[in-house]
Symmetry: C2
Subunit: 336 residues, 2 copies
C-alpha cells in the first residue's frame, strides 16, 4: 500500500488540504501504521509557520501518532502486523553513531523529525523506522495517549533523568507540556510546585497534582521559595524571572529548559557556582525512555487533558491552538 | 597560645601590615595550625579589593595553607599535634544542615570562608574547624601544595564529578586555575584541549599536558571543534565566545564555570535542548573531595607551577599578582 490520504500543508502558514500522497516502497527498516489518533503539538504549529527555519513544504504535520501496524519492513525488528503502536517527534535515526549505539537515539545528529523531511501523522497511514515505533501497553487509553509521545516524554524525561520521588520539583508554565509535567511529577512521588502566569489555572494545577501554585509573574512570591527546589522544568517559551527561579533552587539544583525560549537566558556565573547548580535542556527522549514513560503512564493513569477534533477539522484545530485556547492538548481522531 | 603574628589588611585596597593579633580561646571543634606556606589566590586579591562586596576589614587574607597542627580542640576529631595539614577556602561549616550531613559541606549556607569574618593564613598561626583541616599525604611536596587547597580543588572537583578518563575535556583560560586544570585532566587520563587568549602560553599548555591548544579569541578555531568535547571547565573571569564554546560540546556535554564571570552568560535554550547539554558551576569541593584530590595529586605528582615569596614580601606578591605577572601561582613561605 503506497498511496495514502493525508492533510497536506502546501506552504508556510497555508491551510491544510486533503490529498492523496504516494509513500513509495516501504523501507527495509520501516513499518507502516494505520493512524487512529494523532495529537496536535505546538511544534506542529511552529513548523507550519516556519518559526524555526527548518520547515520543508509541502508538509504532512502531526507527530503524536497512535495506530496499528499494517506492514513490517524486511529487517524491521520486534513489531508485528496488528500491533498497537505510537510514534513521536522522531521517526528515524542513523542507528550507528555513538548516541544511537548508546541508546540515546534522540541525540543522533541524523535523527529524522517526523514532520520535517518526512510525512507525519495527519494522514491515514504513516511510516517510521521500527526503533522509533513504540509498542503501547495494553492498559493505556489509546484515544488519549497521543500527546504522551511528544509532549509527555519531553517533560517525563527530565524527571526520569534527574528527579527522585523525594525531590521537590517545580513546573514552570501550565500548558500543553506543563500540565502533563505536573501530573507526571505528582505520580513520580515528588512535591510539586506549579508556576503559571494565569490565575485562572491555579485550581486546575492543583487538580493535576500540584501541592503549591505560584504566579510566575510574581517575583516576590518566587523569591520566597529561595533554596527550596531540586529541579525546575521550564516549559514556557517566553522570558520569566530567571534569577528568581535559579535562586529557588537548593544546593545541586537544576533548572531544565524544554520550551523553545528564543531570547537568550542570562545566567550569572555566581548563581551557579555557590549552590553548585545547573541549567540544562533536552529534546523528547530515547525509545527506551519513551517505553518506560508509556508503562509508567499506564500504571499511574497519567494522561493529558484533551480536546478532540475529527482529523477533517484539522484547520479548525490549528486555529484553536494558535488562539491559545487549547485546554490542554488537542487530539485529532482519524476520519478518512 | 592565643596571640599570633599576622599580615593584616587594615582596609580595602590598603597595604598589609604586620601585627600581633589575639586569636582568643581555641574553640572545641577547632585546631590551631602553625603556618609553613600559604598560597596567594586571585580571590585574596578580590577580597582585598572588595570586588564581591563581602569583605570584612581588618582582614587576614590567605586561604591555601600548609602547616602543622599545634593544638587540638576538645571535640576536634581525627587530628593530632604535629600532623601536617592543609586548609583551603572554607574553615568551617555548620555540620548539621543537609549539605553538611550529606558530605557536601562546601554547599553549607553557613560555610565560613577562611578570609571573610575569619583570620586567614598570612600569619604565623591559623585556626580552622577539624572537618576542614585536611591531613596531607606524606608523599606530597608540601612547599608546593598550598595552591591545591583552593585553586586545585576548584578545577579538580568538576573532573571528579563529571569526567571519566575517556572524556574529552577543554580547559578555558590557562592561568592560576587553568594550568592546574590541564595538569589534573591529563593525569585523569582525559584528552585535553587548552583554550588560552595568549599565544605565548601555547607551548607551556602542552607541557602541562594539553593535547591540543586553541586560541580562545579565535571563534572560527573553536567552531571547528563542534560536537567534540564532553566537558568544558571555564576558569576565566571575562566573557568569551559562549555560543562557540557550547557548540564545541557533544551530546550530553557540560560547560562548567568556576571563574567569577561578572557579566551574565547569555544561554540560548535551543543550544542546550538539542544536544541535551548543561551549563553549571561549583565552589571548591567537599572535605572528602579535597582529600581525594590531595591523594591523587601525590600519586600523579600534580603540582602547581609556583613562584615563591617570603611572607614578609606579601605586598610585593600582591602587586605581582595584580599586574597579571604570576606564572602561575604564588606561594608565600612563612618567615615570622
Amino acid at each position: 500500500m503506497s498511496v495514502t490520504e493525508a492533510w497536506v500543508a502546501p506552504a508556510v502558514k497555508q491551510k491544510l488540504v486533503r490529498q492523496q500522497i504516494d509513500l513509495g516502497p516501504l523501507g527495509a527498516e520501516e513499518v507502516e501504521v494505520q493512524v487512529e489518533h494523532c495529537g496536535m503539538c505546538h511544534s506542529d504549529l511552529s513548523v507550519l509557520n516556519d518559526e524555526w527555519n527548518i520547515s520543508q513544504f509541502p508538509a504532512v504535520l502531526g507527530h503524536e501518532v497512535v495506530g496499528r501496524v499494517v506492514e513490517v519492513g524486511s529487517t524491521a525488528k520486534g513489531l508485528t502486523v496488528g500491533q498497537r503502536v505510537g510514534i513521536g517527534w522522531n521517526s528515524g535515526s542513523c542507528m550507528h553513531c555513538r548516541s544511537c549505539k548508546s541508546g540515546e537515539h534522540q541525540l543522533c545528529a541524523q535523527a529524522l523529525p517526523t514532520i520535517v523531511g518526512h510525512r507525519g501523522g495527519f494522514a491515514n497511514r504513516i511510516r517510521a523506522d521500527w526503533a522509533w515505533t513504540l509498542p503501547l501497553p495494553e492498559t493505556l487509553n489509546v484515544a488519549e495517549a497521543g500527546p504522551l509521545l511528544c509532549g509527555g516524554i519531553t517533560v517525563f524525561n527530565p524527571l526520569a533523568m534527574y528527579a527522585k520521588p523525594t525531590s521537590h520539583v517545580g513546573i514552570v508554565g501550565i500548558g500543553g507540556l506543563g500540565h502533563m509535567g505536573v501530573k507526571f511529577a505528582a505520580a513520580y512521588g515528588c512535591e510539586v510546585t506549579a508556576f503559571t502566569s494565569s490565575e485562572s489555572k491555579f485550581d486546575e494545577a492543583r487538580q493535576f497534582g500540584a501541592h503549591h501554585v505560584v504566579s510566575s509573574r510574581d517575583s516576590q512570591a518566587i523569591q520566597k521559595l529561595a533554596g527550596q527546589l531540586d529541579l525546575l522544568i521550564v516549559t514556557v517559551n517566553v522570558p520569566v524571572d530567571w534569577d528568581a527561579l535559579i535562586a529557588s533552587l537548593g544546593p545541586n539544583g537544576r533548572m531544565h529548559v524544554v520550551g523553545a525560549v528564543m531570547n537568550p537566558i542570562p545566567i550569572t556565573a555566581m548563581s551557579l557556582i555557590f549552590g553548585q547548580k545547573s541549567v540544562s535542556g533536552s529534546p523528547t527522549g530515547s525509545p527506551v525512555a519513551m517505553e518506560k514513560m508509556l508503562e509508567f503512564a499506564a500504571r499511574h493513569n497519567v494522561l493529558p487533558q484533551t480536546e478532540h477534533f475529527r482529523m477533517s477539522q484539522v484547520n479548525e484545530a490549528f486555529a484553536h491552538l494558535e488562539a491559545g485556547k487549547a485546554r490542554y492538548r488537542i487530539v485529532l481522531d482519524a476520519d478518512f
